[in-house]
């Protein structure tokens, strides 16, 4: 049996020899992709174009502008001279925010009973930068306000330290963006790699009409399935190691947990996705169709993983459904091991879920595939 499976595995690799692009993508595509995404996304939001209309033109207003500039969030555009100009620039999408310092800002600021007005206009057509701009400007204004209050109260700065609290960030002390993004991207990349290559296994044979040839040969359906699985698993685990290397060496993310545990669970997760991918593959009539199905299934998983938005904030029904998505547990496991140094004890609920879901998916996929092949 083993010899026959090996000959099947050999056949799969033989197919790769004809086209060197494919093995290159299979082996290095994932790592390259991760490198690209990580490079683009693992940085804070900075350089947002900001326009300032300083009608006051006093030292106080200039100080405010400098404080805003010092946040590092913005890049100052040419100063505005009218609201129409701001409107035009915002319509064109050239700026994310505008700050208007009205006449008499400094006067109000120095007046004991005064309350200076500061106007901010955000470009709501890009809500993510708009929120970031709002946060940065609110921070500057808050600090300035506290300083003024202290002055007004006649309290010296030593007496009143301000109401700031100490913040500690666990697992990511320096708030490094790459820590947030790259382990999660690694988890998703592994899923997509396995799903895609598993989904193409049978649909390619079917499209070429070679599936029948394979079936009349003296192989059992189980042997065919195992023979088709081994290359996908090998490629998946190789890609995973390479991508882990990218996460660790290119983005300097520490790996705090056990590597052995991580690879064992990665192997387990690979089998789960393999089951899904192969079921898609047997179901599809062509490679084109398997790809489209992978895209849909992958997107549904993506929604439940908690990569982009926390699952806790989603409707209750989605939170419950998320438990049934293997990728959700896989993401928690990978983040846990890499960043938190979690051991099997902390990860037990996720591992058990993965095990249960994997068994169910595996059982049904195997039954479905064997039935379709026989």
């Amino acid at each position: 049996m083993i010899r026959r499976i090996l000959s099947l595995v050999n056949k799969e690799f033989l197919h790769l020899k004809n086209d060197w692009w494919l093995p290159a993508f299979m082996l290095f595509g994932g790592a390259l992709e991760l490198l690209m995404i990580g490079w683009a996304t693992s940085r804070p939001i900075t350089n947002l174009p900001l326009m300032i209309w300083d009608m006051d033109k006093t030292p106080a207003s200039r100080n405010l502008v400098i404080s805003i500039e010092n946040t590092g969030t913005f890049e100052l555009m040419e100063p505005a001279t009218s609201l129409e100009f701001i409107r035009d620039q915002m319509d064109r999408g050239n700026i994310n925010a505008a700050v208007i310092i009205p006449n008499g800002f400094a006067g109000e600021l120095n007046n004991p009973a005064g309350k200076p007005i500061l106007q901010v206009i955000l470009n709501g057509a890009e809500s993510i930068p708009a929120r970031e701009a709002q946060r940065a400007i609110e921070g500057v204004v808050w600090d300035l306000g506290q300083k003024i209050t202290i002055q007004k109260l006649g309290v010296s700065a030593e007496q009143f330290a301000g109401f700031n609290f100490s913040l500690r960030v666990w697992f990511n002390e320096a708030l490094n963006e790459a820590y947030f993004t790259t382990p999660a991207e690694l988890a998703l990349m592994l899923e997509f790699t396995i799903l895609l290559f598993a989904a193409l296994t049978f649909s390619r044979e079917r499209e070429f009409g070679t599936l029948e040839q394979l079936l009349v040969m003296p192989f059992t359906s189980l042997e065919i399935i195992i023979g088709k699985s081994i290359p996908v698993i090998l490629v998946g685990l190789f890609d995973f190691s390479l991508m882990l290397g990218v996460v660790h060496f290119a983005f300097h993310v520490p790996i705090r947990g056990s590597i052995l545990l991580m690879f064992s669970l990665a192997f387990m997760y690979t089998l789960v996705e393999l089951g899904k991918g192969m079921a898609i593959s047997v179901f599809s009539r062509s490679q084109h169709q398997s790809f489209l199905l992978v895209l849909l299934v992958g997107m549904i998983d993506f929604m439940f993983t908690g990569y982009a938005a926390p699952v806790e904030s989603m409707p209750q029904i989605i939170q419950t459904l998320a438990y049934l998505i293997p990728a959700h547990h896989w993401l928690a496991i990978l983040r846990g091991i890499i960043l938190k140094g979690a051991t099997i004890r902390e990860l037990l609920p996720n591992v058990l879920w993965l095990l249960v879901l994997g068994s169910i998916i595996g059982y049904f996929s195997l039954r479905y595939i064997r039935k379709a092949l026989d």
């Binding site: 683009a40 209050t149 990511n172 997509f192 193409l200």
Partner: protein
């Protein structure tokens, strides 16, 4: 170029699409369905973030403070912890995203204006929830401290109505409450309308893989006719989504549509031409469908997602990525869709982006035609 030839290729391609019923349905619905899924996945208002509290002060003020902090639906009190180890454990298991530790002198420090004897710990692995918790805890803590300070000052005869002396007036144009899906849906259009590009790449690679390309070329059909015939059916499939998605966006997600629909339709056709030509280049180079797929993911899907300014502002990208984003049709189209949906601008402002899209489309088609010839020669 002969339109009879072009039509023959289009008919062949359409017949092929129609024969594979499953793929046909998927080609037509995938963009819309994925847009729905992605909007639900990404446009989430963060709330109910679970936190734990460790109260070493145990005073009426500290209890009142904890009550104030968890009063809204933004932060949920998961548990009152008894020790640091308990908090450590909860963070490790991911049960809580943040913890507040009130030090022994909390109320005393507050009344003597010594500041806040307060520590906040967040889970640094999940940026959104962690940052959200910090912002909201900070905001509530400052309000709480200010109230106490104000009452104290009033008691001592000083008139201070508020500790925030600057009147900050923030307005957001086009999307006053900064609802995420309002700009996400138009932005995502540029991602999901890129999916037919995969189909174009696959259909061209299929002809190589099945060795039917030679047969096609033995016919009097010119290469450019073949290429255009291959993408036109998919441009039509994409256009169907261009018609459906705005309806969904307006009815389902309350996204306004302030511009002209005709302008939107016209620019969408140009975008589809440019984006699908990228798929054409891939299909010409790749000899197998799997390789074409893998390359499409690398050069269409992920840059289209991360470098077009939908999630991450282009201004914050490194120089090289900013350059690259200029040459992605998705970048231009995201500006166009947001402009047409939200800002309500017309061709007078948008024409440079349209020209750029047309230019990109011609360059991609030209590249495909050129290398197609060389590869076969």
């Amino acid at each position: 170029m002969s339109f009879r030839h072009l039509w023959a290729v289009i008919r062949k391609e359409i017949q092929h699409i129609l024969r594979d019923r499953g793929s046909l349905i998927l080609v037509l619905i995938t963009p819309t369905v994925v847009l729905l899924l992605m909007t639900y996945a990404l446009a989430v208002d963060i709330k109910h973030v679970p936190i734990a509290v460790l109260d070493y002060d145990q005073s009426p003020v500290s209890r009142q403070f904890i009550q104030k902090i968890t009063a809204g639906d933004d932060l949920d009190l998961y548990t009152s912890a008894g020790s640091m180890t308990e908090i450590e454990n909860l963070l490790l298991r991911g049960k809580i995203k943040a913890a507040i530790i009130l030090d022994p002198g909390f109320s005393a420090d507050l009344f003597s204006l010594q500041g806040l004897a307060l520590q906040v710990v967040i889970d640094g692995t999940e940026p959104e929830t962690g940052g959200f918790a910090v912002d909201h805890i900070g905001w509530r803590a400052e309000t709480f401290a200010n109230q106490i300070l104000s009452t104290q000052l009033q008691a001592s005869g000083l008139a201070v109505d508020t500790l925030q002396p600057i009147d900050l007036r923030i307005r957001a144009w086009y999307n006053p409450s900064l609802v995420p899906q309002v700009d996400l849906v138009p932005g995502l259009l540029s991602v999901v309308l890129g999916f037919p590009a995969f189909s174009v790449a696959l259909t061209l690679a299929r002809e190589h893989e099945h060795r039917t390309m030679e047969q096609l070329l033995a016919t009097p059909i010119k290469r450019i006719e073949l290429l255009l015939g291959k993408i036109i059916p998919y441009i039509l499939a994409g256009l169907m989504n261009v018609l459906i998605i705005p309806l969904f966006a307006m009815a389902w997600f309350d996204v306004p549509f302030n511009g002209s629909f005709l302008v939107f339709l016209f620019l969408s056709v140009i975008f589809l031409f440019a984006e699908l030509s990228m798929g054409m280049v891939i299909g010409v180079f790749m000899r197998s469908q799997s390789a074409a797929l893998a390359l499409s993911f690398l050069v269409v899907m992920f840059p289209g997602f991360f470098l077009t300014g939908i999630f991450f502002p282009i201004a914050s990208l490194p120089e090289l990525a900013r350059m690259e984003s200029l040459f992605l049709p998705g970048t231009q189209y995201a500006i166009i869709t947001r402009g047409v949906f939200l800002t309500g601008i017309g061709l007078d402002v948008l024409w440079p982006y349209a020209v750029m899209l047309l230019f990109l489309g011609l360059v991609f088609t030209g590249t495909a035609a050129l290398f197609f010839k060389k590869k076969l020669a």
